[in-house]
Symmetry: C2
Protein backbone atom coordinates (compact mmCIF):
# COMPACT_ATOMS: atom_id res chain seq x y z
CA UNK A 1 0.00 0.00 0.00
CA UNK A 2 1.15 3.53 -0.64
CA UNK A 3 1.80 6.21 1.95
CA UNK A 4 -1.41 8.06 1.10
CA UNK A 5 -3.39 4.85 1.53
CA UNK A 6 -1.87 4.44 4.98
CA UNK A 7 -2.86 8.01 5.79
CA UNK A 8 -6.45 7.32 4.70
CA UNK A 9 -6.49 4.31 6.96
CA UNK A 10 -5.10 6.30 9.88
CA UNK A 11 -8.08 8.62 9.61
CA UNK A 12 -10.45 5.78 10.46
CA UNK A 13 -8.68 5.35 13.77
CA UNK A 14 -8.06 8.93 14.83
CA UNK A 15 -10.28 9.92 17.74
CA UNK A 16 -11.51 6.34 17.92
CA UNK A 17 -13.21 5.36 21.15
CA UNK A 18 -13.48 7.49 24.28
CA UNK A 19 -11.93 10.94 24.70
CA UNK A 20 -9.74 10.61 27.80
CA UNK A 21 -7.96 13.43 29.61
CA UNK A 22 -5.05 11.13 30.47
CA UNK A 23 -3.99 10.89 26.79
CA UNK A 24 -1.27 13.53 26.24
CA UNK A 25 -0.52 12.47 22.67
CA UNK A 26 -2.54 9.88 20.73
CA UNK A 27 -2.49 8.43 17.20
CA UNK A 28 -0.10 10.08 14.73
CA UNK A 29 3.40 10.35 16.26
CA UNK A 30 6.05 7.67 16.77
CA UNK A 31 4.44 6.68 20.08
CA UNK A 32 1.61 7.69 22.41
CA UNK A 33 2.15 9.65 25.64
CA UNK A 34 -0.12 8.62 28.51
CA UNK A 35 -0.56 9.63 32.16
CA UNK A 36 -0.66 6.65 34.53
CA UNK A 37 -2.75 7.38 37.60
CA UNK A 38 -0.84 7.35 40.88
CA UNK A 39 -1.36 4.37 43.18
CA UNK A 40 -2.48 2.14 40.34
CA UNK A 41 -0.73 -0.77 38.71
CA UNK A 42 -0.67 -0.91 34.94
CA UNK A 43 -2.38 -4.00 33.47
CA UNK A 44 -1.35 -5.02 29.94
CA UNK A 45 -2.54 -7.76 27.58
CA UNK A 46 -2.23 -8.48 23.85
CA UNK A 47 -4.35 -10.73 21.61
CA UNK A 48 -4.43 -11.51 17.93
CA UNK A 49 -7.25 -12.58 15.60
CA UNK A 50 -6.19 -14.28 12.37
CA UNK A 51 -8.62 -14.74 9.47
CA UNK A 52 -9.43 -18.39 8.93
CA UNK A 53 -8.21 -19.27 12.44
CA UNK A 54 -10.09 -17.08 14.90
CA UNK A 55 -12.86 -15.99 12.57
CA UNK A 56 -14.14 -17.36 9.27
CA UNK A 57 -12.96 -15.75 6.04
CA UNK A 58 -15.54 -13.18 5.07
CA UNK A 59 -16.75 -12.50 8.63
CA UNK A 60 -18.44 -9.09 9.01
CA UNK A 61 -15.77 -6.42 9.42
CA UNK A 62 -17.70 -4.84 12.31
CA UNK A 63 -17.47 -8.16 14.15
CA UNK A 64 -13.70 -8.42 13.60
CA UNK A 65 -13.25 -4.89 14.96
CA UNK A 66 -15.54 -5.60 17.90
CA UNK A 67 -13.92 -8.93 18.74
CA UNK A 68 -10.29 -7.80 18.61
CA UNK A 69 -11.12 -5.33 21.39
CA UNK A 70 -13.56 -7.64 23.20
CA UNK A 71 -11.04 -10.48 23.60
CA UNK A 72 -8.57 -8.06 25.15
CA UNK A 73 -11.21 -6.45 27.40
CA UNK A 74 -12.03 -9.98 28.52
CA UNK A 75 -8.40 -10.45 29.62
CA UNK A 76 -8.63 -7.28 31.71
CA UNK A 77 -12.00 -8.42 33.09
CA UNK A 78 -10.34 -11.64 34.27
CA UNK A 79 -7.81 -9.52 36.22
CA UNK A 80 -10.53 -7.30 37.73
CA UNK A 81 -8.91 -4.34 35.98
CA UNK A 82 -10.30 -1.11 34.55
CA UNK A 83 -9.59 -0.62 30.82
CA UNK A 84 -8.11 2.65 29.57
CA UNK A 85 -6.11 2.61 26.32
CA UNK A 86 -5.67 0.43 23.25
CA UNK A 87 -3.15 0.19 20.41
CA UNK A 88 -4.06 -1.60 17.18
CA UNK A 89 -1.81 -3.44 14.73
CA UNK A 90 -3.88 -4.20 11.65
CA UNK A 91 -2.61 -6.23 8.69
CA UNK A 92 -4.88 -6.13 5.64
CA UNK A 93 -4.43 -7.46 2.12
CA UNK A 94 -5.53 -4.15 0.55
CA UNK A 95 -6.98 -0.78 1.53
CA UNK A 96 -10.73 -1.45 1.20
CA UNK A 97 -12.49 1.70 2.42
CA UNK A 98 -15.88 0.08 3.08
CA UNK A 99 -14.32 -2.79 5.04
CA UNK A 100 -12.17 -0.41 7.07
CA UNK A 101 -15.10 1.88 7.86
CA UNK A 102 -17.11 -1.07 9.15
CA UNK A 103 -14.17 -2.54 11.08
CA UNK A 104 -13.38 0.76 12.76
CA UNK A 105 -17.03 1.36 13.64
CA UNK A 106 -17.20 -2.05 15.34
CA UNK A 107 -13.98 -1.35 17.24
CA UNK A 108 -14.71 2.28 18.12
CA UNK A 109 -18.29 1.65 19.32
CA UNK A 110 -17.09 -0.95 21.82
CA UNK A 111 -14.18 1.31 22.82
CA UNK A 112 -16.62 4.13 23.59
CA UNK A 113 -18.81 1.76 25.63
CA UNK A 114 -15.84 0.78 27.81
CA UNK A 115 -14.18 4.22 27.96
CA UNK A 116 -11.16 3.02 25.99
CA UNK A 117 -9.17 5.51 23.88
CA UNK A 118 -7.35 4.13 20.82
CA UNK A 119 -3.98 5.85 21.18
CA UNK A 120 -1.81 4.26 18.53
CA UNK A 121 -1.45 1.71 15.85
CA UNK A 122 0.32 0.32 12.86
CA UNK A 123 -1.27 -0.64 9.56
CA UNK A 124 0.60 -3.05 7.30
CA UNK A 125 -0.23 -5.01 4.18
CA UNK A 126 -0.42 -8.79 4.35
CA UNK A 127 -2.84 -11.60 5.23
CA UNK A 128 -5.80 -10.29 7.31
CA UNK A 129 -4.82 -10.26 10.96
CA UNK A 130 -5.65 -7.88 13.80
CA UNK A 131 -3.68 -7.52 17.04
CA UNK A 132 -4.78 -5.26 19.86
CA UNK A 133 -2.83 -4.31 22.94
CA UNK A 134 -4.97 -3.21 25.85
CA UNK A 135 -3.78 -1.18 28.82
CA UNK A 136 -5.69 -0.60 32.03
CA UNK A 137 -5.33 -0.11 35.75
CA UNK A 138 -5.68 -2.07 38.91
CA UNK A 139 -5.55 -0.97 42.53
CA UNK A 140 -2.39 -2.56 44.02
CA UNK A 141 -2.84 -6.03 45.54
CA UNK A 142 -6.45 -6.33 44.35
CA UNK A 143 -5.86 -7.82 40.89
CA UNK A 144 -7.39 -11.23 40.29
CA UNK A 145 -5.01 -13.91 39.00
CA UNK A 146 -5.29 -17.56 38.00
CA UNK A 147 -3.16 -18.78 40.86
CA UNK A 148 -5.06 -17.84 44.05
CA UNK A 149 -7.50 -20.79 44.20
CA UNK A 150 -7.45 -23.42 46.95
CA UNK A 151 -8.93 -26.93 47.21
CA UNK A 152 -12.48 -26.58 48.51
CA UNK A 153 -13.17 -23.28 46.71
CA UNK A 154 -16.40 -23.27 44.73
CA UNK A 155 -16.11 -22.73 40.95
CA UNK A 156 -18.50 -20.40 39.12
CA UNK A 157 -18.96 -19.36 35.52
CA UNK A 158 -20.69 -16.29 34.09
CA UNK A 159 -23.18 -16.30 31.24
CA UNK A 160 -24.21 -19.28 29.15
CA UNK A 161 -21.13 -20.99 27.70
CA UNK A 162 -21.41 -22.83 24.39
CA UNK A 163 -23.50 -20.16 22.67
CA UNK A 164 -20.51 -18.67 20.86
CA UNK A 165 -19.33 -22.07 19.62
CA UNK A 166 -22.81 -22.75 18.22
CA UNK A 167 -22.81 -19.27 16.67
CA UNK A 168 -19.53 -20.07 14.92
CA UNK A 169 -20.95 -23.36 13.61
CA UNK A 170 -23.90 -21.39 12.22
CA UNK A 171 -21.53 -18.88 10.58
CA UNK A 172 -19.65 -21.78 9.02
CA UNK A 173 -22.90 -23.47 7.88
CA UNK A 174 -21.97 -26.49 9.99
CA UNK A 175 -25.19 -26.18 12.00
CA UNK A 176 -28.65 -25.29 10.77
CA UNK A 177 -31.39 -23.89 12.95
CA UNK A 178 -34.94 -23.34 11.82
CA UNK A 179 -35.92 -20.61 14.29
CA UNK A 180 -34.47 -17.29 13.09
CA UNK A 181 -34.40 -15.67 16.55
CA UNK A 182 -32.49 -18.63 18.01
CA UNK A 183 -29.96 -18.49 15.16
CA UNK A 184 -29.61 -14.71 15.45
CA UNK A 185 -29.00 -14.92 19.20
CA UNK A 186 -26.29 -17.57 18.87
CA UNK A 187 -24.63 -15.85 15.92
CA UNK A 188 -24.50 -12.59 17.82
CA UNK A 189 -22.88 -14.31 20.79
CA UNK A 190 -20.02 -15.34 18.50
CA UNK A 191 -19.80 -12.16 16.44
CA UNK A 192 -20.26 -9.61 19.21
CA UNK A 193 -19.27 -11.05 22.60
CA UNK A 194 -19.84 -8.84 25.64
CA UNK A 195 -16.74 -8.73 27.85
CA UNK A 196 -17.52 -9.07 31.57
CA UNK A 197 -15.53 -6.06 32.74
CA UNK A 198 -18.11 -4.91 35.33
CA UNK A 199 -18.35 -8.40 36.82
CA UNK A 200 -14.56 -8.74 36.96
CA UNK A 201 -14.26 -5.42 38.80
CA UNK A 202 -16.90 -6.49 41.33
CA UNK A 203 -15.37 -9.94 41.94
CA UNK A 204 -12.34 -8.44 43.69
CA UNK A 205 -12.61 -9.31 47.34
CA UNK A 206 -14.76 -12.38 46.63
CA UNK A 207 -12.96 -14.50 44.02
CA UNK A 208 -9.73 -16.29 44.91
CA UNK A 209 -8.82 -16.85 41.24
CA UNK A 210 -10.26 -15.92 37.84
CA UNK A 211 -9.69 -16.65 34.15
CA UNK A 212 -11.60 -15.74 31.03
CA UNK A 213 -12.86 -18.68 29.01
CA UNK A 214 -11.67 -18.16 25.47
CA UNK A 215 -10.35 -21.63 24.62
CA UNK A 216 -13.26 -23.61 26.13
CA UNK A 217 -14.64 -23.89 29.66
CA UNK A 218 -13.03 -27.22 30.54
CA UNK A 219 -9.58 -26.36 29.18
CA UNK A 220 -9.57 -22.96 30.86
CA UNK A 221 -10.85 -24.43 34.16
CA UNK A 222 -7.90 -26.83 33.94
CA UNK A 223 -5.52 -23.88 33.45
CA UNK A 224 -6.89 -22.05 36.49
CA UNK A 225 -6.70 -25.23 38.59
CA UNK A 226 -3.13 -25.95 37.52
CA UNK A 227 -2.01 -22.35 38.17
CA UNK A 228 -3.59 -22.72 41.63
CA UNK A 229 -1.85 -26.12 42.20
CA UNK A 230 -5.29 -27.81 42.43
CA UNK A 231 -7.54 -30.02 40.42
CA UNK A 232 -11.07 -29.11 39.38
CA UNK A 233 -14.32 -31.07 39.25
CA UNK A 234 -17.19 -29.69 37.18
CA UNK A 235 -20.76 -30.99 37.47
CA UNK A 236 -22.38 -31.75 34.12
CA UNK A 237 -25.90 -31.09 35.47
CA UNK A 238 -24.97 -27.62 36.69
CA UNK A 239 -23.74 -26.19 33.37
CA UNK A 240 -25.83 -23.06 32.67
CA UNK A 241 -27.06 -23.68 29.13
CA UNK A 242 -29.08 -21.09 27.25
CA UNK A 243 -32.52 -22.02 25.95
CA UNK A 244 -31.31 -21.03 22.49
CA UNK A 245 -28.36 -23.43 22.65
CA UNK A 246 -30.56 -26.34 23.74
CA UNK A 247 -33.12 -25.60 21.03
CA UNK A 248 -30.38 -25.37 18.39
CA UNK A 249 -28.40 -28.47 19.37
CA UNK A 250 -30.27 -30.63 21.83
CA UNK A 251 -29.10 -31.29 25.40
CA UNK A 252 -26.09 -33.53 24.73
CA UNK A 253 -24.43 -31.44 22.06
CA UNK A 254 -25.23 -28.29 24.04
CA UNK A 255 -23.30 -29.70 27.00
CA UNK A 256 -20.37 -30.64 24.77
CA UNK A 257 -20.24 -27.16 23.22
CA UNK A 258 -20.47 -25.55 26.66
CA UNK A 259 -17.55 -27.62 27.95
CA UNK A 260 -15.33 -27.80 24.88
CA UNK A 261 -16.32 -24.95 22.55
CA UNK A 262 -14.37 -21.71 22.62
CA UNK A 263 -14.91 -17.98 22.12
CA UNK A 264 -17.27 -17.46 25.07
CA UNK A 265 -15.28 -14.68 26.79
CA UNK A 266 -17.12 -15.36 30.02
CA UNK A 267 -15.38 -15.46 33.42
CA UNK A 268 -14.64 -18.65 35.34
CA UNK A 269 -13.74 -17.97 38.97
CA UNK A 270 -13.21 -19.68 42.30
CA UNK A 271 -14.63 -18.46 45.62
CA UNK A 272 -13.58 -19.64 49.11
CA UNK A 273 -16.48 -21.24 51.03
CA UNK A 274 -16.44 -18.41 53.60
CA UNK A 275 -17.07 -15.80 50.87
CA UNK A 276 -19.86 -17.55 48.92
CA UNK A 277 -22.62 -16.11 51.08
CA UNK A 278 -21.31 -12.56 50.74
CA UNK A 279 -20.84 -13.00 46.98
CA UNK A 280 -24.40 -14.19 46.44
CA UNK A 281 -25.83 -11.49 48.70
CA UNK A 282 -23.81 -8.60 47.20
CA UNK A 283 -23.92 -9.82 43.58
CA UNK A 284 -27.21 -11.69 43.14
CA UNK A 285 -26.55 -14.52 40.65
CA UNK A 286 -29.67 -13.86 38.57
CA UNK A 287 -28.85 -10.17 38.23
CA UNK A 288 -25.13 -10.71 37.50
CA UNK A 289 -25.67 -13.90 35.49
CA UNK A 290 -23.34 -16.47 37.00
CA UNK A 291 -23.77 -20.00 38.35
CA UNK A 292 -21.89 -22.46 40.48
CA UNK A 293 -20.61 -25.35 38.34
CA UNK A 294 -18.03 -27.18 40.44
CA UNK A 295 -15.25 -27.22 43.01
CA UNK A 296 -11.47 -26.99 43.22
CA UNK A 297 -10.08 -30.22 44.66
CA UNK A 298 -6.76 -31.53 45.92
CA UNK A 299 -6.33 -34.18 43.24
CA UNK A 300 -4.70 -32.60 40.17
CA UNK A 301 -6.40 -32.67 36.78
CA UNK A 302 -9.77 -31.54 35.43
CA UNK A 303 -12.77 -33.84 35.57
CA UNK A 304 -16.44 -33.57 34.65
CA UNK A 305 -18.89 -35.53 36.83
CA UNK A 306 -22.15 -36.75 35.29
CA UNK A 307 -24.57 -38.23 37.78
CA UNK A 308 -21.57 -38.56 40.10
CA UNK A 309 -19.40 -40.48 37.60
CA UNK A 310 -16.29 -39.10 35.88
CA UNK A 311 -17.05 -38.59 32.19
CA UNK A 312 -14.86 -40.47 29.73
CA UNK A 313 -13.58 -37.69 27.51
CA UNK A 314 -11.75 -36.17 30.44
CA UNK A 315 -9.21 -38.99 30.17
CA UNK A 316 -8.15 -38.06 26.66
CA UNK A 317 -6.26 -34.92 27.63
CA UNK A 318 -7.16 -31.41 26.61
CA UNK A 319 -5.07 -30.88 23.52
CA UNK A 320 -7.92 -31.08 21.05
CA UNK A 321 -10.24 -28.93 23.17
CA UNK A 322 -8.09 -25.90 22.67
CA UNK A 323 -7.61 -26.28 18.93
CA UNK A 324 -8.22 -22.97 17.18
CA UNK A 325 -11.86 -22.68 16.23
CA UNK B 1 -1.65 -25.95 17.14
CA UNK B 2 -2.55 -27.83 20.26
CA UNK B 3 -2.59 -26.48 23.79
CA UNK B 4 0.62 -28.31 24.71
CA UNK B 5 2.35 -26.84 21.67
CA UNK B 6 1.29 -23.37 22.83
CA UNK B 7 2.70 -24.14 26.25
CA UNK B 8 6.00 -25.23 24.74
CA UNK B 9 6.12 -21.96 22.85
CA UNK B 10 5.38 -19.97 25.99
CA UNK B 11 8.50 -21.44 27.57
CA UNK B 12 10.67 -19.73 24.97
CA UNK B 13 9.37 -16.37 26.13
CA UNK B 14 9.25 -16.79 29.89
CA UNK B 15 11.95 -14.75 31.61
CA UNK B 16 12.85 -13.27 28.23
CA UNK B 17 14.90 -10.08 28.37
CA UNK B 18 15.81 -8.13 31.48
CA UNK B 19 14.64 -9.02 35.01
CA UNK B 20 12.91 -5.86 36.24
CA UNK B 21 11.69 -5.22 39.78
CA UNK B 22 8.72 -3.21 38.42
CA UNK B 23 7.12 -6.35 36.93
CA UNK B 24 4.61 -7.66 39.48
CA UNK B 25 3.24 -10.41 37.22
CA UNK B 26 4.73 -11.31 33.84
CA UNK B 27 4.05 -13.93 31.16
CA UNK B 28 1.47 -16.62 32.02
CA UNK B 29 -1.72 -15.02 33.37
CA UNK B 30 -4.52 -13.21 31.50
CA UNK B 31 -2.54 -9.95 31.66
CA UNK B 32 0.68 -8.51 33.10
CA UNK B 33 0.78 -6.30 36.21
CA UNK B 34 3.33 -3.50 36.08
CA UNK B 35 4.39 -0.65 38.37
CA UNK B 36 4.55 2.70 36.56
CA UNK B 37 7.12 5.01 38.14
CA UNK B 38 5.71 8.18 39.65
CA UNK B 39 6.27 11.42 37.78
CA UNK B 40 6.76 9.66 34.49
CA UNK B 41 4.54 9.52 31.45
CA UNK B 42 3.91 6.15 29.85
CA UNK B 43 5.09 5.91 26.23
CA UNK B 44 3.49 3.21 24.08
CA UNK B 45 4.05 2.06 20.49
CA UNK B 46 3.16 -1.00 18.42
CA UNK B 47 4.71 -2.32 15.21
CA UNK B 48 4.20 -5.37 13.04
CA UNK B 49 6.54 -7.30 10.75
CA UNK B 50 4.87 -9.46 8.10
CA UNK B 51 6.81 -12.12 6.20
CA UNK B 52 7.19 -11.22 2.55
CA UNK B 53 6.40 -7.57 3.31
CA UNK B 54 8.82 -6.39 6.01
CA UNK B 55 11.32 -9.21 5.67
CA UNK B 56 11.98 -11.77 2.92
CA UNK B 57 10.51 -15.25 3.30
CA UNK B 58 13.15 -17.42 4.89
CA UNK B 59 14.91 -14.56 6.73
CA UNK B 60 16.95 -15.75 9.73
CA UNK B 61 14.64 -16.21 12.71
CA UNK B 62 17.10 -14.40 14.99
CA UNK B 63 16.81 -11.37 12.73
CA UNK B 64 12.99 -11.41 12.81
CA UNK B 65 13.08 -11.57 16.62
CA UNK B 66 15.69 -8.81 16.80
CA UNK B 67 13.91 -6.55 14.34
CA UNK B 68 10.41 -6.78 15.83
CA UNK B 69 11.85 -5.33 19.04
CA UNK B 70 14.30 -2.98 17.31
CA UNK B 71 11.61 -1.23 15.23
CA UNK B 72 9.63 -0.57 18.41
CA UNK B 73 12.69 0.57 20.36
CA UNK B 74 13.32 2.95 17.48
CA UNK B 75 9.86 4.47 18.01
CA UNK B 76 10.69 5.06 21.68
CA UNK B 77 14.10 6.48 20.68
CA UNK B 78 12.31 9.01 18.46
CA UNK B 79 10.32 10.16 21.51
CA UNK B 80 13.43 10.38 23.73
CA UNK B 81 11.85 7.74 25.96
CA UNK B 82 13.34 5.00 28.14
CA UNK B 83 12.15 1.46 27.23
CA UNK B 84 10.82 -0.87 29.94
CA UNK B 85 8.37 -3.61 28.92
CA UNK B 86 7.31 -5.49 25.78
CA UNK B 87 4.39 -7.74 24.81
CA UNK B 88 4.66 -10.03 21.81
CA UNK B 89 1.92 -11.31 19.50
CA UNK B 90 3.44 -13.99 17.30
CA UNK B 91 1.58 -15.74 14.48
CA UNK B 92 3.40 -18.77 13.06
CA UNK B 93 2.33 -21.40 10.53
CA UNK B 94 3.49 -24.28 12.78
CA UNK B 95 5.37 -24.89 16.01
CA UNK B 96 8.96 -25.24 14.74
CA UNK B 97 11.18 -25.57 17.82
CA UNK B 98 14.45 -24.64 16.11
CA UNK B 99 12.93 -21.55 14.50
CA UNK B 100 11.31 -20.46 17.78
CA UNK B 101 14.53 -20.94 19.74
CA UNK B 102 16.42 -18.77 17.27
CA UNK B 103 13.64 -16.14 17.12
CA UNK B 104 13.42 -15.87 20.90
CA UNK B 105 17.21 -15.65 21.26
CA UNK B 106 17.28 -12.74 18.79
CA UNK B 107 14.45 -11.00 20.64
CA UNK B 108 15.64 -11.73 24.17
CA UNK B 109 19.28 -10.72 23.54
CA UNK B 110 18.20 -7.28 22.33
CA UNK B 111 15.70 -7.02 25.19
CA UNK B 112 18.48 -7.69 27.72
CA UNK B 113 20.69 -5.08 26.04
CA UNK B 114 17.99 -2.42 26.43
CA UNK B 115 16.71 -3.52 29.85
CA UNK B 116 13.32 -4.55 28.43
CA UNK B 117 11.31 -7.30 30.15
CA UNK B 118 8.95 -9.35 27.97
CA UNK B 119 5.84 -9.41 30.15
CA UNK B 120 3.16 -10.96 27.99
CA UNK B 121 2.20 -12.36 24.67
CA UNK B 122 -0.10 -14.32 22.47
CA UNK B 123 0.91 -17.10 20.09
CA UNK B 124 -1.48 -18.00 17.29
CA UNK B 125 -1.30 -20.12 14.17
CA UNK B 126 -1.44 -18.46 10.77
CA UNK B 127 0.81 -16.75 8.22
CA UNK B 128 4.14 -15.66 9.80
CA UNK B 129 3.71 -12.25 11.38
CA UNK B 130 5.16 -10.71 14.55
CA UNK B 131 3.72 -7.72 16.42
CA UNK B 132 5.40 -6.18 19.41
CA UNK B 133 4.02 -3.59 21.77
CA UNK B 134 6.65 -1.57 23.60
CA UNK B 135 6.07 0.42 26.78
CA UNK B 136 8.47 2.92 28.29
CA UNK B 137 8.69 6.14 30.24
CA UNK B 138 9.31 9.78 29.64
CA UNK B 139 9.81 12.63 32.07
CA UNK B 140 6.75 14.92 31.65
CA UNK B 141 7.07 17.66 29.05
CA UNK B 142 10.43 16.36 27.78
CA UNK B 143 9.22 13.89 25.15
CA UNK B 144 10.30 14.59 21.59
CA UNK B 145 7.52 14.72 19.01
CA UNK B 146 7.29 15.24 15.26
CA UNK B 147 5.50 18.55 15.58
CA UNK B 148 7.89 20.89 17.40
CA UNK B 149 10.02 21.99 14.44
CA UNK B 150 10.11 25.58 13.10
CA UNK B 151 11.24 27.09 9.82
CA UNK B 152 14.96 27.82 10.13
CA UNK B 153 15.73 24.79 12.32
CA UNK B 154 18.61 22.67 11.08
CA UNK B 155 17.84 19.05 10.13
CA UNK B 156 20.17 16.24 11.20
CA UNK B 157 20.22 12.50 10.66
CA UNK B 158 22.03 9.80 12.64
CA UNK B 159 24.09 6.98 11.17
CA UNK B 160 24.50 6.19 7.48
CA UNK B 161 21.09 5.84 5.81
CA UNK B 162 20.73 3.56 2.81
CA UNK B 163 22.81 0.71 4.25
CA UNK B 164 19.75 -1.28 5.35
CA UNK B 165 18.08 -0.92 1.94
CA UNK B 166 21.26 -2.23 0.28
CA UNK B 167 21.37 -5.04 2.83
CA UNK B 168 17.83 -6.02 1.90
CA UNK B 169 18.72 -6.00 -1.82
CA UNK B 170 21.62 -8.34 -0.99
CA UNK B 171 19.30 -10.63 0.99
CA UNK B 172 16.94 -10.69 -1.99
CA UNK B 173 19.81 -11.37 -4.43
CA UNK B 174 18.91 -8.14 -6.22
CA UNK B 175 22.40 -6.71 -5.63
CA UNK B 176 25.71 -8.52 -5.80
CA UNK B 177 28.85 -7.34 -4.06
CA UNK B 178 32.25 -8.94 -4.54
CA UNK B 179 33.83 -7.87 -1.23
CA UNK B 180 32.55 -10.17 1.56
CA UNK B 181 33.12 -7.66 4.38
CA UNK B 182 31.16 -4.97 2.54
CA UNK B 183 28.29 -7.39 1.92
CA UNK B 184 28.35 -8.62 5.51
CA UNK B 185 28.25 -5.06 6.87
CA UNK B 186 25.28 -4.05 4.73
CA UNK B 187 23.37 -7.29 5.40
CA UNK B 188 23.86 -6.87 9.11
CA UNK B 189 22.50 -3.31 8.94
CA UNK B 190 19.25 -4.72 7.52
CA UNK B 191 19.06 -7.87 9.65
CA UNK B 192 20.16 -6.43 13.00
CA UNK B 193 19.50 -2.67 13.14
CA UNK B 194 20.72 -0.85 16.25
CA UNK B 195 17.97 1.39 17.66
CA UNK B 196 19.23 4.85 18.68
CA UNK B 197 17.75 4.88 22.17
CA UNK B 198 20.78 6.52 23.84
CA UNK B 199 20.88 9.29 21.22
CA UNK B 200 17.11 9.89 21.53
CA UNK B 201 17.43 10.24 25.32
CA UNK B 202 20.28 12.76 24.92
CA UNK B 203 18.51 14.84 22.25
CA UNK B 204 15.92 16.08 24.75
CA UNK B 205 16.61 19.76 25.33
CA UNK B 206 18.32 20.15 21.97
CA UNK B 207 16.00 18.79 19.29
CA UNK B 208 12.76 20.63 18.47
CA UNK B 209 11.28 17.59 16.66
CA UNK B 210 12.32 14.00 15.98
CA UNK B 211 11.17 10.99 13.94
CA UNK B 212 12.70 7.61 13.28
CA UNK B 213 13.38 6.84 9.63
CA UNK B 214 11.75 3.52 8.91
CA UNK B 215 9.99 4.27 5.61
CA UNK B 216 12.87 6.18 3.98
CA UNK B 217 14.69 9.38 4.90
CA UNK B 218 12.90 11.67 2.44
CA UNK B 219 9.40 10.41 3.21
CA UNK B 220 9.97 10.56 6.96
CA UNK B 221 11.55 14.03 6.72
CA UNK B 222 8.36 15.07 4.88
CA UNK B 223 6.25 13.65 7.72
CA UNK B 224 8.22 15.55 10.37
CA UNK B 225 8.02 18.76 8.34
CA UNK B 226 4.28 18.41 7.78
CA UNK B 227 3.62 17.64 11.46
CA UNK B 228 5.62 20.81 12.24
CA UNK B 229 3.67 22.84 9.62
CA UNK B 230 6.89 23.44 7.68
CA UNK B 231 8.62 22.28 4.57
CA UNK B 232 12.04 20.67 4.47
CA UNK B 233 15.03 21.04 2.16
CA UNK B 234 17.69 18.35 2.18
CA UNK B 235 21.12 18.81 0.59
CA UNK B 236 22.16 15.92 -1.66
CA UNK B 237 25.89 16.57 -1.04
CA UNK B 238 25.49 16.36 2.72
CA UNK B 239 23.95 12.87 2.91
CA UNK B 240 26.22 10.78 5.17
CA UNK B 241 26.87 7.69 3.06
CA UNK B 242 28.85 4.76 4.38
CA UNK B 243 31.96 3.64 2.54
CA UNK B 244 30.38 0.19 2.28
CA UNK B 245 27.26 1.58 0.58
CA UNK B 246 29.29 3.54 -1.96
CA UNK B 247 31.53 0.54 -2.72
CA UNK B 248 28.47 -1.68 -3.14
CA UNK B 249 26.35 0.63 -5.29
CA UNK B 250 28.33 3.58 -6.55
CA UNK B 251 27.62 7.20 -5.61
CA UNK B 252 24.33 7.77 -7.46
CA UNK B 253 22.54 4.63 -6.36
CA UNK B 254 23.91 5.09 -2.84
CA UNK B 255 22.28 8.53 -2.68
CA UNK B 256 18.99 7.14 -3.99
CA UNK B 257 18.98 4.33 -1.41
CA UNK B 258 19.86 6.80 1.36
CA UNK B 259 16.94 9.07 0.40
CA UNK B 260 14.32 6.54 -0.64
CA UNK B 261 15.25 3.20 0.92
CA UNK B 262 13.64 2.10 4.16
CA UNK B 263 14.48 0.11 7.28
CA UNK B 264 17.28 2.37 8.56
CA UNK B 265 15.81 2.98 12.03
CA UNK B 266 18.01 6.03 12.41
CA UNK B 267 16.77 9.31 13.91
CA UNK B 268 16.00 12.43 11.88
CA UNK B 269 15.70 15.54 14.04
CA UNK B 270 15.49 19.30 13.86
CA UNK B 271 17.47 21.70 16.07
CA UNK B 272 16.81 25.43 16.49
CA UNK B 273 19.78 27.58 15.37
CA UNK B 274 20.37 28.77 18.94
CA UNK B 275 20.88 25.17 20.17
CA UNK B 276 23.16 23.86 17.40
CA UNK B 277 26.34 25.01 19.14
CA UNK B 278 25.35 23.38 22.42
CA UNK B 279 24.31 20.16 20.64
CA UNK B 280 27.62 19.84 18.81
CA UNK B 281 29.60 20.69 21.94
CA UNK B 282 27.70 18.32 24.27
CA UNK B 283 27.17 15.52 21.74
CA UNK B 284 30.17 15.58 19.39
CA UNK B 285 28.88 14.51 15.96
CA UNK B 286 31.73 12.08 15.28
CA UNK B 287 31.22 10.35 18.62
CA UNK B 288 27.40 10.23 18.38
CA UNK B 289 27.36 9.64 14.62
CA UNK B 290 25.03 12.27 13.22
CA UNK B 291 25.28 14.88 10.48
CA UNK B 292 23.49 18.00 9.35
CA UNK B 293 21.65 17.32 6.09
CA UNK B 294 19.22 20.20 5.62
CA UNK B 295 16.85 22.81 6.98
CA UNK B 296 13.19 23.26 7.83
CA UNK B 297 11.70 26.01 5.66
CA UNK B 298 8.47 27.98 5.44
CA UNK B 299 7.40 26.65 2.06
CA UNK B 300 5.54 23.36 2.53
CA UNK B 301 6.72 20.14 0.91
CA UNK B 302 9.95 18.16 0.92
CA UNK B 303 12.71 18.95 -1.56
CA UNK B 304 16.22 17.68 -2.23
CA UNK B 305 18.74 20.23 -3.53
CA UNK B 306 21.61 19.00 -5.69
CA UNK B 307 24.22 21.68 -6.45
CA UNK B 308 21.54 24.18 -5.41
CA UNK B 309 18.85 22.87 -7.79
CA UNK B 310 15.69 21.04 -6.76
CA UNK B 311 15.97 17.41 -7.85
CA UNK B 312 13.29 16.14 -10.20
CA UNK B 313 11.95 13.12 -8.32
CA UNK B 314 10.72 15.36 -5.52
CA UNK B 315 7.91 16.48 -7.85
CA UNK B 316 6.46 13.00 -8.20
CA UNK B 317 5.05 12.77 -4.69
CA UNK B 318 6.17 10.35 -2.03
CA UNK B 319 3.75 7.49 -2.49
CA UNK B 320 6.19 5.06 -4.03
CA UNK B 321 8.98 5.98 -1.61
CA UNK B 322 7.08 4.49 1.26
CA UNK B 323 6.08 1.28 -0.45
CA UNK B 324 6.75 -1.69 1.80
CA UNK B 325 10.20 -3.08 1.12
Amino acid sequence: MSLSEFELIDRFFRNCGAARSDVRLGVGDDAALLECPRDRQLVAAIDTLVEGVHFPAGAPAASVGHRVLAVNLSDLAAMGAEPAWGLLALTIPRADGAWLAEFSEGLCALAREFQVALVGGDTTSGPLCATLQILGFSEPATALTRSGGKAGDAVFVSGTPGDAAAGLLLEQSRLSVLEPDVAAHLRSRFLFPAPRVALGRRLRGYASACIDISDGLLGDAAKLARASSCGVELEHERLPLSVALKRACGEDRAHALALLGGDDYELLFSVPPARIGALQRDLPPAEWSYARIGTLVGELGARVLRHGNVMDFAHSGFDHFAAPS
